[in-house]
Amino acid sequence: MSNKNRYIKWFEELDKDSIPKVGGKAANLGEMINAGFPIPPGFAITIDAFEEFLESARRFGKKAKIVEIISKIDPKNTQELEDTSAFVREIIEATPVPEEIVEEIRRAYQELCRKIGIEDVAVAVRSSATAEDVPDASFAGQQDTYLWISRFEGVMKHVVKCWSSLYSPRAIAYRATKGFSHWDVSIGVAVQKMVNSRSSGVMFTLNPTHGDESQIVIEASWGLGEAIVSGSVTPDRFVVDKVTMEIVERTVSTKLYWTVYDPDKGSVIHGEVPEELREEPSLTDQEIIRLAEIGKKIEKHYGTPQDIEWAIDDDLPFPENVFITQSRPETVWSKKKKEPVIGKKSGYDLIMNRALTRYKVPKS
């Protein structure tokens, strides 16, 4: 980790003030790692790198060409938008990356492999937009994320793809309609170890069923997170009392399918969970409690309930195997107006209410 680097920054070197330097996503990863949250290791490619790259495109006369094409575009014409985007991205992706940038990224990737102890370690390459021109969260999702990329050449190729994602049809249209410049925008990239997920899932730092903020709910399944997100599996469900840190509820479901990474194919495969694992809980008690502790910490750090993605890495022993891959504010309950539940009532009012209560015995 050297300060001499201009084009890459290790996550440890970043925090929330780094958005102008590396974009929102990478800055957030830096913020998380520095707050002590266990996220998979990695580094960011700075906005300087992208700008330097774009500058070099000028030398090849490409930048002028891009300017010309994009400034003429009619954002309402979908077909034209698609074609233009494809054409511009092609130009960008065919532009050679300046040697100093390539070298810095190469060194960083090799350093990452060395630190983890796996040659050609598989990484995720994600674009990291600067926040100023991306007001809504959903927009960020439009930018590119490439999973299970291994070997330096692959990494480099997808870094450029992330750069060119600034000119996706949606990004162009958005800027055009909002009247933003196509040139004041910039983009960073995050390169992060892929978790070799034995189990994965989501965690809410409140109970999404009724919004109870004294509870943490963890949904877990075998393999990669896709199975839960796509709804092909009913996950195991664990509820942890945030105060006592006791597991107060556990529902282990039958998990028929999973998604796992196949190193031979170099891609993920969907398949059936082996019989002996189907009825087994996909998390140990130890892991549940560890996750809940992390969730509590993240929530405290951001000051609002969180919706967290996590994974258990099969390559590592407990507790280093517990990783957080994403955290964002919980939106459903947190957006609700915080009306008092009970309201202005004295203890005697409450006693009187209770004294008048008759317990209904439901008809069976």
Partner: protein, 617 residues
Amino acid sequence: MTDKGFPKPLEVEVPEELRGWEEMYPPHYIFSKEREEWESRQFWYLDKIHAPDPMYPWDLIFHEAWQIALAQYNTRVFCIPPAQGVAQRLVGCYFYICAVEPPSEGTIAKKAELFQKRAFHAFEHYDDLYEKWEKKFRDLGESVREIGIPDLPTFEPDERVIPVPRGYYSSYDLMEAYDRVINAIYKAWQYHFEYLNLSYLAYLTFADTVRKLFPGISESTIGKMVAGAYVVMFRPEEELARLARLAISLGPKVVEILKSNMKPEEKLEELSKFHEGREWIHSFEEVRDPWFYVSCGSGWFHYEGSWINTLEVPFEYLRSYIDRIERGEKVERDLEAIDEQRAKLVEEYRNLIKSDEDRQAFDEAYGICRKIYTYAENHLFWVEHWFHTIIFEKMREFGRLFVRYGMLDKVDDIFLFNRFEIPMIIEDLVTAWALGENVPTRAAYWKQKAEKRKKLLEAAKNWTPPPALGTVPEEIAEPFTVMLWGITSEKVAEWIKGVTARPEDVSEIKGFAASAGVIEGKARVIRFLDEITAVQEGEILVCPTTNPSWAPVFTKIKAAVTDIGGLTSHAAIVCREYGLPAVTGTGISTQVIKTGDIIRVDGDKGIVTIVERSNQE
């Protein structure tokens, strides 16, 4: 519902060998034709919490007393608006209770006014009121102790005749002594409920409030927030721990004697022979009263025994405490740590409350609950343990008198007669005494009755009564019913299941989620305290109920299941402290589970599952 499962009260048939059971009990305890319409309309359930076994006629007195007292506070004193009393009946020697349906709306409105005035005043001044309560209650207990049970002298002594005749003599003294004991019992039970209904109400209010704020909160967490560390009920254990430490500090000779296999009386004899030993005895005598006046069971039944008359029990614990102290273990409950933990728990939940108004409501509900709930925890020692022990001891004095005069064969046979019958035996005896020499009594009649009743009670043990009778109610307002018996739709469903299922067909039992955690292991079913030495390290204890006498077993077991008791029962509190999973108040565990079965105790959900039945029957 009746069609589906619960029989009407008069439809229940008892086995042949139980015929005639009714004559043991007062007539108003028996379901009857003339009350049939009202009785069939109510919902009667088997009260395994307070009476798991067939009822001894005399032991019914405490129930007779609580039926009157509990109800009277709900209906006539503090006037909890929609609540009436809890009525009792016996069927085949088993004890059924019923929360009486609510009164008319007009009465409810009238009661609400009175409740507001009276109950709020009691909440307001509780601290002061409790002090007065404890004083008068202990005075009452002392007054029972002072009741002399006269022997019947051949001639009254001179001083009762000269210079001025006393005017009444031993026959009257004996009759009066018994009446005084009975009156004290009724009074004690009126005192018993003085603040109990209110303290349960405060607990339920707080639980409601917390559940509104934290819909997912577990029962056991609410229990932990409320449970006090400085509870009188734990004093006997604490005193034993202190005596164990004292023994060690007094030197190896004292320790050696206490750890020996001698009988308690022999140990005391040996100790009295040297200085340090006498010092220990001195401390022992100091704490014996009141702290050894603790029942080895629930306190409700004469056969359970108390520490003072089963000294082997505390002495056995003493031995295990000394062992543990010598191994460097801590045997005392860390009161400050428990208190701190509770405060921290409450504080952290409180911090999660979003609005100031809600936080205020939480504080108020909690404040009232904490203040008065100590009553629920403390009265138990003074009434069910200390006072009942005094009463049973007193009754045995009458029993010894009866044996001495040949009225009964055994001292404890006195408990085979209900409280109305004892005066007849006394009268029979004093009549014969008064009539003069060689006048026969009807001792043979009483003895024969006793023998017959022993057989009836034995027959009842082998009979499984229906879990409920009558009509399932639409609503229940009576706080005890909700709090102690935990009547919920699930519970009722469980009972319906119980009507049709045989014990061996049941594989899942529900109770209170009393202490969190899930664990699987081998069950050890213990029905009575004297079987407790059978418990092996790492087993799961399955028992009717626990109390401080059971304390040392909790360091051996890895979970506990009880038939009887709620979230604040002894087993629940101790398990939470030791971090052991516990499910309490399951009603039927000791019948359904057999020693050796592999069971899973889910203290998070309050479910016990029989994973694997053992082969040994």
